[in-house]
C-alpha cells in the first residue's frame, strides 16, 4: 500500500508556503460562501420548523401509516450513519496501512463522520413520536424501578451510536491538535485564546508527538471495530425482526459494505467540491480521486455481489412471505426504484470507473453522486416494501412522505453542507502537519 508515489505532491510545496496557503484559505468569506451559508441556514430552519410542527400537531402529520410504521426517517437514519463510515473507516484503514496519499484526505473524511453522526443520530429523535421521553431509553436509576429494554436493537443502536460519535469526535480531534496550536500562533485576541485552549497545551515536543502518534494508532484500531459494529447494529434493527426479507443473516455485513461504499462516495463528492470551491487543486490531486475511485469500484463490486446473493437466496428459497416482498420490490412501483438503484450503485460506477479511459475527476464525482442516490434508494427499498407487505395480505398498505418528511430530509442535507461550510472556516480542512510530514518524507 505504501507504494503509492508521493510525486503527486507538487515539488514546490514547501513547509512555509503550504501553511500560509492553507491558513490563508480559512480567512475571509466570499459572497457565494455567505450565500451558501444563508441558503443552507434557511433550509435547516425550515426543517426545524417542520419538526416542531410534527411534535405539536402529532406524528400523524408525517406520511407514515399502518402498516408502514417506519418511513423516510429511518431511511435517512441508515443513510447518514452509513455515510459516517467515510471518515473514520477510510482514514483509519489508510492510516493503519500507512497509505501516504491519504494525508490531504483524512481531515475531510473525519469531519464527514462527525457531522453525519450528528445528523444521523438526530433521526431517532425525530422518528419517535414522544421525543420528550427519549431519556427513557437511557439506563439510569429511578424511583419507578424501570429500565430500558436491553434486548431491544434500538437500545443497542443508542449505545453504538453514542460510542461511535464520541470515538469519532476524539479521532477527528486528535490530529487537529497540532494544527490548532499552529492556528493559535497565527491568530489574535479571543480566537487565539480559543485555539490555544483547544490545542490542549500542544508545544510540539517529541513526547507529545509520540503520544499523539500512539493514541491515533490506538484510536484507529478502536474506531475500526466500532464502525463495523455500529453498522452491524443498524442492520440488526432490521435483521432481528421477524419481517420477511428483513430477517436475514447477510444484513450486517451487507450494511457495513453499503456504509463504506456510500461513505467513499460522499468523501469523493466532498473532496471534489472542496477542490473546486476552495481551489485546493494543489493538494487534492487527481491521484487521490483515482485511488478513491478504485476503492469505490471495489466496494461497488462487493455491494453488487451482496445484493445478488441476497436476492438469489430469497428468490430460490421461495418462502411465501418473502417471495411476495421480492415480487413487490422488483416489479411495479418499487421496481422502477429498484432498477434505478442497480444502475446507480453498480452499472454507472462499473462503467465509469471500470474503464480506465473514462476515469477522470468529473466522472468519478458523477459516479459518487450516483452511488449516494443509489444507496439512499437501497435503504428505502429495504424499509418500505417489506413493511408495506406484512405476512397477512389483508393488512397490506402503502406509504408516501408528507411535506414534513421531505422538509426534514432536505434540511439534513442542508445541515451537512452548512456544518461543512462552517468547519472549513474554523479549521484547516487539510491537516497541515500531516501534509507537511508527507512533504518532508519526500
Amino acid at each position: 500500500m505504501d507504494a503509492i508515489p508521493t510525486t503527486a505532491l507538487t515539488p514546490d510545496s514547501g513547509h512555509a508556503s503550504v501553511r500560509a496557503d492553507l491558513l490563508g484559505r480559512m480567512r475571509g468569506a466570499s459572497g457565494p460562501y455567505l450565500a451558501g451559508v444563508a441558503v443552507c441556514g434557511m433550509i435547516v430552519a425550515w426543517a426545524l420548523f417542520a419538526w416542531g410542527y410534527q411534535i405539536v400537531n402529532g406524528f400523524g402529520s408525517t406520511g407514515v401509516r399502518r402498516p408502514v410504521y417506519w418511513g423516510f426517517y429511518i431511511v435517512n437514519f441508515v443513510f447518514w450513519i452509513g455515510i459516517s463510515h467515510a471518515g473514520t473507516l477510510i482514514s483509519a484503514i489508510l492510516r493503519l496501512t500507512g497509505a501516504e496519499w491519504r494525508k490531504p484526505v483524512t481531515r475531510a473524511a473525519e469531519a464527514i463522520t462527525v457531522f453525519c453522526l450528528m445528523i444521523g443520530g438526530l433521526f431517532p429523535l425525530i422518528h419517535i413520536s414522544r421525543p420528550w421521553f427519549f431519556y427513557w431509553m437511557l439506563p439510569y436509576p429511578n424511583e419507578r424501578l424501570l429500565w430500558p429494554n436491553f434486548r431491544s436493537p434500538l437500545f443497542w443502536d443508542l449505545t453504538a451510536i453514542l460510542t461511535y460519535l464520541s470515538g469519532s469526535v476524539i479521532y477527528l480531534y486528535l490530529p487537529l491538535i497540532p494544527d490548532l496550536a499552529e492556528l493559535a500562533n497565527h491568530s489574535k485576541g479571543a480566537k487565539r485564546r480559543i485555539y490555544r485552549a483547544l490545542s490542549l497545551g500542544w508545544t510540539g515536543s517529541d513526547r507529545q508527538w509520540q503520544a499523539l502518534e500512539r493514541s491515533m494508532k490506538l484510536m484507529a484500531v478502536v474506531i475500526l471495530a466500532i464502525a463495523v459494529s455500529v453498522h452491524s447494529v443498524v442492520a440488526y434493527d432490521f435483521s432481528m425482526s421477524v419481517m420477511p426479507t428483513w430477517h436475514n443473516t447477510i444484513f450486517a455485513p451487507y450494511f457495513v459494505v453499503g456504509a463504506i461504499f456510500s461513505g467513499i462516495a460522499a468523501l469523493v463528492l466532498v473532496m471534489a467540491a472542496l477542490r473546486k470551491m476552495m481551489g485546493l487543486e494543489r493538494y487534492l490531486r487527481e491521484v487521490h480521486f483515482v485511488n478513491l475511485s478504485k476503492l469505490l469500484l471495489l466496494m461497488s463490486l462487493i455491494w453488487g455481489y451482496f445484493t445478488f446473493s441476497e436476492h438469489l437466496t430469497t428468490w430460490y428459497g421461495n418462502l411465501p412471505s418473502e417471495i411476495r416482498v421480492f415480487q413487490i420490490r422488483e416489479h411495479g412501483l418499487f421496481g422502477m426504484l429498484f432498477w434505478t438503484m442497480v444502475a446507480c450503485n453498480f452499472v454507472i460506477p462499473f462503467v465509469l470507473l471500470g474503464i480506465s479511459k473514462l476515469r477522470s475527476i468529473p466522472t468519478i464525482a458523477v459516479s459518487s453522486a450516483a452511488v449516494l442516490v443509489g444507496m439512499w434508494l437501497e435503504r428505502f427499498l429495504i424499509v418500505v416494501p417489506t413493511l408495506s407487505t406484512p405476512p397477512l395480505a389483508a393488512a397490506w398498505g402503502s406509504y408516501a412522505p408528507s411535506w414534513i418528511e421531505l422538509s426534514i430530509t432536505a434540511g439534513t442535507f442542508a445541515a451537512m453542507v452548512l456544518l461543512y461550510l462552517l468547519f472549513v472556516k474554523a479549521f484547516p480542512i487539510i491537516a497541515i502537519w500531516e501534509y507537511d510530514d508527507g512533504v518532508r518524507a519526500r
Partner: protein, 187 residues
C-alpha cells in the same frame, strides 16, 4: 411473586434496580439531581397550594361530629372511586346545623345557586399517566385511608400529605407482596 412462572425471570425485574442504583458516581449524581428536583417540585407545589372554595374542616366533622370517612366519601371501600359528596349531602345537615358559620353561609350560597361546590382535587393521577386506580381492593386489603391520604382527621382543609408517585405505589405494593405487574394499574 410466588405465582410467577420462572420464564418471566428473563423479563426485566425491577429487583435489579435496587442493586444497581447508587453504586456508581453516576448514580449518585442522578440521585442528587432527582432529590434536588423533588425539592424544587415541593417548593413549587407548596407555593401553588390549592385554596378550597370553602374552608371545609375535616377535623370538625370527624372529631367533633364523629363522622366516618365513608359517610361522605361513599365509594371509598366499595367502589372504584371514593367520590366527593354532592352539596345535597352537605345540606342534609347544614340546613339545620351551624347555619351561621361563615363557611356554611358560603355553602348555602352555592346551594341557592344550585351549584356544586367546586372542590379542588388534591389527589389523583394525570390523564396521561393512564392509571386506573380502584379504591375497593385497597380497602379490602385493609390499607388504612391515612396510608395514602395522611391523617386527614387532624386536618382542617385537606392538604396533600402524601405524594403519590409510581415509586410510592410500587414500594407499597412490594412491601405488601401485592402485584407489581404494570397492567395492575395501567390499562
Amino acid at each position: 411473586m410466588k405465582g410467577r412462572p420462572a420464564a418471566r425471570a428473563v423479563r426485566l425485574e425491577p429487583a435489579s434496580a435496587a442493586r444497581l442504583s447508587c453504586t456508581s458516581l453516576w448514580g449518585e449524581f442522578l440521585v442528587s439531581l432527582a432529590m434536588l428536583s423533588a425539592l424544587l417540585l415541593l417548593v413549587v407545589q407548596t407555593a401553588s397550594a390549592s385554596e378550597q372554595p370553602i374552608g371545609f374542616s375535616h377535623t370538625a366533622h370527624i372529631e367533633k361530629a364523629s363522622m366516618q370517612c365513608t359517610d361522605c366519601h361513599e365509594g371509598a371501600t366499595s367502589r372504584d372511586s371514593a367520590g366527593l359528596p354532592s352539596i345535597r349531602k352537605c345540606m342534609l345537615c347544614h340546613q339545620f346545623i351551624a347555619t351561621d358559620l361563615p363557611e356554611v353561609v358560603r355553602l348555602s350560597e352555592y346551594w341557592e345557586r344550585k351549584h356544586e361546590v367546586p372542590w379542588e382535587r388534591i389527589y389523583g393521577f394525570a390523564k396521561t399517566a393512564a392509571v386506573q386506580f380502584r379504591h375497593a381492593p385497597h380497602a379490602r386489603a385493609e390499607i388504612a385511608c391515612s396510608q395514602c391520604h395522611g391523617d386527614v382527621a387532624s386536618m382542617t382543609v385537606a392538604v396533600k400529605a402524601v405524594t403519590h408517585t409510581m415509586g410510592s405505589c410500587i414500594q407499597c405494593h412490594r412491601d405488601n407482596s401485592a402485584t407489581d405487574d404494570c397492567l395492575a394499574c395501567h390499562f
